[in-house]
Amino acid sequence: MTATRLDENILLTADNCRYCLMCRHVCPIGHVTGLETLTPHGWGLMIASNRRGLLTWNDESVFKLYSCADCGTCRAHCVTDQPLPETIATARAQVVEAGLAPPAVGRVAEMLQRWQNPYEEQAPEPVEGRGEVALFVGDEATYLRPGLLDAALKLLEAAGIRPVLIGRGRSNGYVASSLGLIEIAHDLARANLEDLAASGARRLLVLSPGDFFAFKQLYPERLQLSLPDSVDLSEVTVLLAQALDRGELAFEPLPPGPPHAYVDPSHSVRVKTRYDAPRKLLAAVIPAPPVELFWRRERTHPVGSTALKFTIPQFADHLTWARLGDARQAGAQRLISEDAGTLKALGDHAARFGVEVLSLYELLASQLR
């Protein structure tokens, strides 16, 4: 697979987006930088201008091309569903093919090729056993928040589910795709789908909206790979919330504590129907009404779980600070989320903002009745 194979739609989307400003208000990078260039319109214009010979890819322009967080918020707010994140990923793939990608991309590529994750020099664990239900673990839950998986498994067991673990320690392919490492992304996705096939599962559970997006949309759209039609995909939070509704799960409420807020994880906007489930679960352990962040639900800004932490870490930090600042402004002293990458990014900077960061799965597991 090469970038040029995906080239056909790139100019059309870039041309559509280059002069459209209708998603400016939700672009997190545009918001934290205030730079016109670093907005969907700016990226569209850059790509369209490159195609017209008005802009060459060089260190400066490539830096800006890699400044998009690939969070999907622009597309989620586009009335005509312009796939600009996919177009940017394709443009990056062309930059990679031309040998012009930032050095950090090469380092990530090396790790992904060798270890199938960008975090640890450790190979993914093979699939053990078969079953009706599989749980994709991925690399972030494995390496960025190790306690998360045990908590999620405890909760699933309480709901009567013992999943086969797949992709444990392996990237879902999003980071590679986002950086323009299209071949590597394809290999990772194929390996995850092979794990799924080996498990024999007809239901695939994922721990985060980022993983949901990868299987549901990224694989077919960017990599021409698909989940089998017979496999039902859902987030663990959605499944647990349904079990809670049916009375199959019960939790011991925590004693009253400082104000808390739920942080919609990165990529939440790509899964439009998922906003209520984690809030419902959280309300079962912290009955006090939460404060809501300004950048929430359909306008969620990403924190962690994007490729920016590898390429432009200062922008990744800006996004994290913006969410923590949002929390402080809202008066929240405890932040709860379920996505490992989101938790890691928030946790790394939380002390500076005087907030505590808690894992939703771990919190729920600790309060299981």
Binding site: E36, S49, R52, L55, V79, T80
Partner: protein, 476 residues
Amino acid sequence: MKYSFPREMIRSELEDIVGQHFVSVEETDRLVYSTDWSWMPQMWLDRGERLPMPDYIVHPGSAEEISEIMDIANKYHLPVVPWGGGSGTQGGALPMFGGILLDMKRMNKIIEIDEVSLTVTAQAGINGQQLEWALNEKGLTLPHYAASAKCATLGGYLAPRGTGTISTKYGKAEDMVMSMQIVLPTGEIIRTPPVPQHAAGPDWTRLWLGAEGTLGVITEATMRVEYIPESRLLRAVLFDDLSKALEAGRRMMTRRLHPFVIRLYDPASTKTRVKAILGYDFDGAYMVLGFDGDPDIAALEEEKALEMCAELGGRDLGPEPGWKWWNHRYDFYYPPINLKLPWMYGTTETITTYDKIEKLYWAEKKAVEEGFAEWNVRFIGHFSHWFHWGVMLYSRFIIEEPPQDAREALRLHNRIWNTAMQAVLANGGMINEHHGIGLKLGRYMRKQYGDAWPFLLRLKKMIDPNGIMNPGKVGF
């Protein structure tokens, strides 16, 4: 790019004021800031041509910093072009002569929401939709629902005297201004009076409304806000005849009903844009009516409005086509369903009194369609901002197969606009109602104002003696 010694000196001085991170001379930034939302520069880039670019893109963090930047601009005689969201349609933010482009988006703080007096004070660079969300959290709304709200800034609402979709009840952006902080071209930081209605001399606050950055930089504004209305009613009515539809709108306004929207599409718009976006295939003039506020009063006003429409043959289509328009009113601006390149298009919107509006509409339509028939030009329009004395005509021309040569296309665009403006001025219209003058309409200012124009030129000279502010715009 490698800068020459003087340029590096100026860059360094600008960095001393705002910090190194907030000055860019990079090629990609200069390219992106070389175009706004107007057709002319977009077409120019589309054809692979290069535009004038700013020399320095500066992101000021305060009025004081802008004041210091003015000192540098005056010292080196550099143009200063304020930039908000870049959503202007008239080229008002184009850096025609290079210089310093002031991107205001770093100044995006809400300073105060006064829930007693119902006002909000914010820095001018705040995004319109983000400001609206913040107000909504408190049950309030800034009733300037511009199509550009998702990208435009508060300063960008005010500088060209913008109008939003519910202006018919709530007024234009300029009508919502309580007061402003402004940095003058000479560097002074001034505040206009704290309230708009008083008798302490002339209303000089309004000098900067419509100046489009040619008389200084709006850095902060206090705006009147409203409670989110308790109820909204939407309805659509179809008229066979545009003349009768205009008369229905006139009766509603002159008899002092308070619709928040009367959106009347001419038959050509109804058959094309309304059909394309909303999916209704109507013959005639499609009118959307909206009433809001107390549910009983809104319902009664709607009933009266429908009676007036029925008297003139308007057919009530019910609430659904009204709500569909309301829920999709901004879809008209999304690609690929918006007007877009490689088409040629222009919005020659105007305003006049009720006694002249219909004649103006037909005169402009005839002049454009007959004058440029060889290009299969289409003229469409809608009437969307209604006053007690008259209404705005949002007229547009569209050519689906314009010249491919950029220069030829630009000349044709200007010729069509000349024809449209001649028809507008000959029929008592203003050359613009809410998009502003920018680069595109500057050449008509003398014709618009006649003997008053030299007075405006003198005013400009007095406020901006070195002519640094946004040169080439608003006719200055």
